[in-house]
Symmetry: C2
Subunit: 229 residues, 2 copies
DNA sequence: TCAAAAGTGTTGGAATTACACCCATGC
DNA sequence: GCATGGGTGTAATTCCAACACTTTTGA
């Protein structure tokens, strides 16, 4: 089977930068390539867009197929189209980024023959293609959006402590935050629901668990509320 | 001549939302289509990405060919890939937005047989394809970026008055701004160069002209300065 | 001399920062 | 009982919003 067109077309792919948070670090999920070019190099999960498939759907499908992740936060990042970014031919890629909680969404490590692994952001291997650049773009976007959209919660488990939330901000923004001021600010937003639960299995006073209240957030949005942390 | 591939490929285009400011209004540049589908409908300038051509370059080329605009501020906006956004076949488009000063960059109205015209944003015709949605996305992006990046200057002539700058912000953000506070804020940024010139041909006291100091802005950026208005 | 827009400071209230100690829990 | 992080309030400062009149110019 083959397909013929009157004019040459670049190939079109989607690639996805998956950020995950664990106790220590912000990490990114990479796939080890099993075919040339860049055989054995680490790369972003991704693949060709099918005709008739929406691009968001394509990104989700590739994510599912290569990492078994589904139902995750996924947003379009940027498109990269330098004609020699792939040595084989002109391949344009629409990059996405995803946010997952590393502990809840443990992806199957190896789906097909390929290895998948989490890498801390400050200890990355050299990536295939221009994926290093794409990753850097995603990182900047994450830093930028964290301040004025409530996307940080996507990296945490459903219920989390205020200290976990604060550490997340400190890690991604790379700055120290005052504990009392942070709590004051967060609570005043009015989008955290205080649960009845507290941490378990900790060797010190257990912290209260909170939940992000999506409905409340959307209701406030309509009233002209602006998230900012 | 024809091109054959093993797998089907969506077609790939770039489209561009060109914003222009004149004395009255924020306007957008549209092209009247001369062939089906959507014959005679107004649409965004754009066209197919060529193999071997960077996508930014493609957007610039289309802009030049269809509107004779060049050397303008151009930035990638978002990619749209719904499989039925074009009735003929699956066409993915990478949308850009451009900012020009309407008076300095008067595009030739009609390049080939096609008509080009400026439309005020609050009096738009129904656009071809999903171009209405793309335009709306560009408008939101412009509103969002205006606050924290110095892109407003791209819509003004090289030398402008503070009142012109203020009116620009008021129009795009759709809110009134206090004159004294605005001037205080803008001047404190330290990225406006005061020229020796004043307005001419005005029937009242002539206002001082200012210029955006790109070099100064970039120098400040490196020192961790954050633009905000 | 009139019309039209340019230009200019002060003050009160709100928001933000800096900062330190007691509490609860598990070992 | 001690080590570990949880949880809390106040005072000083900075930032922001509100506000009105005089000046310059051309017609």
């Amino acid at each position: 089977m083959s397909y013929t067109y009157e004019y040459a077309r670049p190939a079109l792919t989607t690639d996805c930068v998956v950020f995950g948070l664990d106790d220590e670090d912000l990490k990114v999920l990479l796939i080890q390539r099993d075919i040339p070019p860049y055989e054995a190099r680490w790369a972003l999960p991704g693949g060709f867009v099918r005709v008739g498939e929406d691009i968001d759907e394509s990104a989700r499908r590739e994510l599912r197929e290569e990492t078994s992740l589904k139902n995750v936060f996924l947003e379009q990042l940027y498109s990269f189209g330098h004609p020699r970014r792939d040595p084989r031919e002109h391949v344009v890629t629409i990059a996405y980024y995803a946010l997952v909680n590393l502990l809840e969404h443990q992806p199957r490590a190896d789906t097909d023959a390929r290895k998948a692994a989490w890498f801390p952001l400050d200890d990355l291997p050299t990536l295939a293609f221009d994926h290093g650049k794409i990753l850097e773009t995603a990182r900047e976007r994450l830093r930028g959006k964290l301040r004025y959209e409530p996307i940080g919660f996507e990296l945490l488990p459903e219920k989390f402590t205020l200290t976990e939330l604060q550490k997340l901000y400190e890690r991604i923004l790379d700055e120290e935050i005052d504990k009392r001021n942070f709590r004051k600010k967060v609570k005043k937003l009015g989008i955290l629901e205080e649960t009845e639960e507290v941490q378990s299995d900790v060797a010190h006073r257990a912290a209260r668990l909170y939940r992000f209240d999506q409905k409340q957030y959307k209701a406030l949005l309509k009233k002209g509320f602006n998230f900012e942390l």
